[in-house]
Symmetry: C2
Subunit: 460 residues, 2 copies
């Protein structure tokens, strides 16, 4: 399975191998098993991918008989100095010419964003060329159209790198569990927010300090809203829901809350109650309406019991927790981002697509059904609710009365005095989001309630 | 992806569905996509498999176009009352006739043990019939012959259920990571021992009490040696090493130590030092000798840092920690045993094999290379060593002198007094097993050392 020299392929030697003649990606034609690869984009992931392919090219050829030859690489500017091992003349600024080139058998799209990625991918699929993409935004927005185009053309549209970086979760959800009805998938799918929440938990720092720390380490963007407001996680939730349940769910249908409202006090409360706070992407089947599956798909911070496997996923790691009907609970854990893990996922897809091309077959998602997506108001969950109240007789009775009037049953309550104020922390029994929201609305009307009550959903 | 009524398929209704007419496994012939399944064995896993197939048969047909029809089921005795949903005449005691039946397209072997399983599987493969098996003992003993027979016949030999129960780790190691050189796999692959060690850690009970508890719950056999002495884990380590590195490693080449020597004091020491004790199956590539990969494959209890993902795998759960060159660290977690998780893995394999049969292809392991398996003496690791000594001046100097004379460097030491005795606990820097064993040998010769020193390997 390994070539003779692979024992020497340590991570220390890898960086330089790409520039050595032995590691150079060959673009020469071979008659048997040669697959022409057109690469769109050569940024962080693109260069890691080209580097990894350079290292693995001969080994893949030995193990599979497939020679993955990079035909052209579309870049924004050919003049920029690159450390990527490419022959002269491979770089071009004309991405569409890469797609259209008859020598391009497979297209690897690593540009990101909607346009021109969408037009390029659609064009490739219409030309019956398989596409590998890491573009979660594109799939979460135009997935229905793209999956249908791939199905019509009978070619692969593979996207392992779009969710969970190097964790092979797309492959598993698409194929491995075909005999296993999946009830629910819960994922920690955004490394930046998991890093921030881990720092808040382990070092007791505030949200803003943890964010600044993540920014200084390059884990978070200067404008962090795509991560911290849950947009990135919502795009991934859309993809997860679509492949798990075989029904199209666009990012616009995903309920979304970010972590910017989480305070150090929430984290401390959660710890004391035996929970960790995690930003979760959840996709679950909740029922059926008019013969269509009804799904609930949402992204929000949640209280996860400390002994749940998701609670121990720290730093910028990702994990996907899958609840199957027969198999029970599974979890897949690994690096959710980074050039090399993502490149590994892209290369794995490329090998699959090339193999399928040779066998004249493809991985079908089937015809996606329409799904109903339930409203967040219909969610049933336990809730964590905290508020600051004036510490005087009768306040707890008034607060408890509001819960009772909306049929929200309290499982536990903790009270901590703060001078003439008290902090009340409640965990409810299972209740509907609608009733909890109505409770919160009424609580805000109480004179004794001094802060707007905050709440988090509790994962059982 | 889901049939109309699957929303009602909760775990509560599943048990009875198998006996309802709707859930009955049909053995009628259909002209298109019908795959005749011969099942060998109908014990715990066999009946769970038949039950799951009965539930999923129509859904699999809808999603894949494959109708998996149970042709015959070989059992030890047809008279035993069974709750399995089978038509009359499907049961037989003649297992070889099931294999030979022209209507049997795929064989599912769930008998276990070496014979007659080996003869039946070989016979099926020679008849170009794909085989699904959950039989780790068979694969770890006669795998070389069986994989070669499957390769020669050009048919599937699939065994997801043999390692990690319902966790799709075999599939991942075989296929997903084809573009990813794997450096090391470390697994918690035996649920019984993980349950015992978890009980010792969390409840502070002795090994014997934890074992008795596991036996009373049915997690451990009356003769627990296959589990607690590491034989089961060694068989799985053999399979993991073979598929990960593409080189045949039989169970006989796997170094093996069990957990029966682990004491409550070891667990307490480990905790205090920031480690959990886990029984690990480890397969890693350590180098190359005469153009053959050199592997280290071993099963032993190990000290795992508490913040390592494997440390949080509790109860009877299994997990596989995979270190890839580009992808970094991955972990796959789930139920490693039990009828339904195992049945889910078998059914997933059956769907794959049936799909491959229709496409006239198969999952090849390739030609297995020969591997050198390195001796445990050549292991380099950190070590935990403890001993009881007479508490008198000069003892620590004598003990330290023995370490030094074998070039074993001490990273940390803790001493606890016990009257005229002291307990010394050492963690070494990285050292060779050979040197550590020599150190232990010399320590035993010291007058002041009152107990035979015990040691555990520390995972970094």
């Amino acid at each position: 399975m390994f070539p003779q020299d692979s024992a020497h392929l340590t991570s220390c030697t890898l960086k330089t191998m790409g520039n050595s003649p032995a590691g150079r990606i060959s673009v020469g034609r071979i008659s048997d098993g040669r697959v022409g690869v057109g690469v769109l984009g050569c940024g962080h992931v693109g260069s890691a991918f080209l580097d990894l392919l350079a290292q693995q090219q001969s080994e893949i050829a030995e193990r599979t008989g497939l020679f993955l030859a990079v035909q052209q690489v579309a870049v924004r500017s050919v003049s920029r100095d690159r450390e990527v091992p490419l022959d002269d003349g491979v770089l071009t600024t004309d991405a569409m010419s890469v797609v259209n080139d008859p020598a391009t058998d497979v297209v690897v799209e690593l540009i990101g964003g909607i346009e021109p990625a969408r037009e390029l991918v659609m064009s490739a699929l219409r030309q019956h060329k398989p596409v590998i993409t890491a573009n979660k935004e594109l799939l979460a927005t135009y997935g229905a159209e793209l999956y249908a185009a791939a199905e019509d053309a009978g070619v692969d549209l593979l996207f392992e790198a779009a969710v969970g970086g190097g964790i092979p979760v797309v492959r598993l959800l698409r194929a491995s569990l075909v005999a296993e009805p999946i009830l629910r998938v819960m994922g920690i799918v955004n490394g930046t927010t998991n890093y921030i929440l881990s720092q808040m938990t382990e070092r007791g720092v505030s949200y803003h300090d943890a964010l600044a720390d993540a920014q200084s380490l390059g884990f978070a963007e200067r404008d962090p809203s795509a991560d911290v407001e849950g947009f990135d996680a919502a795009a991934k939730a859309s993809i997860i829901a679509t492949i798990t349940f075989g029904a199209w769910v666009g990012a616009g249908s995903v309920y979304r809350e970010g972590i910017s409202g989480i305070t150090a006090a929430d984290i401390a409360d959660a710890r004391q109650l035996g929970y960790a706070i995690k930003l979760l992407a959840v996709a679950e089947r909740v029922g059926e309406v008019d013969n269509k599956p009804e799904l609930a798909v949402r992204v929000h911070p949640a209280m996860v019991p400390v002994d749940h496997p998701l609670a121990s996923v720290r730093d910028s790691f990702n994990a996907m927790f899958v609840e199957g009907m027969a198999v029970g609970d599974l979890m897949f854990y690994g690096r959710g981002a980074g050039g090399r893990p993502t490149a590994s996922a892209v290369l794995g897809d490329l090998v699959d697509a090339a193999n399928n091309l040779r066998r004249d077959t493809f991985s079908s998602l089937g015809v996606l059904s329409e799904a109903g997506v339930s409203c967040i108001d219909d969610l049933e969950s336990e809730y964590y609710i905290n508020m600051e109240v004036t510490d005087r007789p009768g306040v707890l009775a008034a607060v408890a009365g509001v819960f009772g009037s909306h049929r929200v049953s309290i499982r536990s309550m903790e009270q901590a005095g703060l001078g003439d104020q008290a902090r009340l922390v409640f965990i409810t029994h299972r209740a509907s989001e609608r009733d909890v929201q109505a409770t919160l609305g009424d609580l805000r009307e109480l004179d004794a309630v001094r802060s707007v009550p905050a709440f988090l959903r509790v994962v059982g």
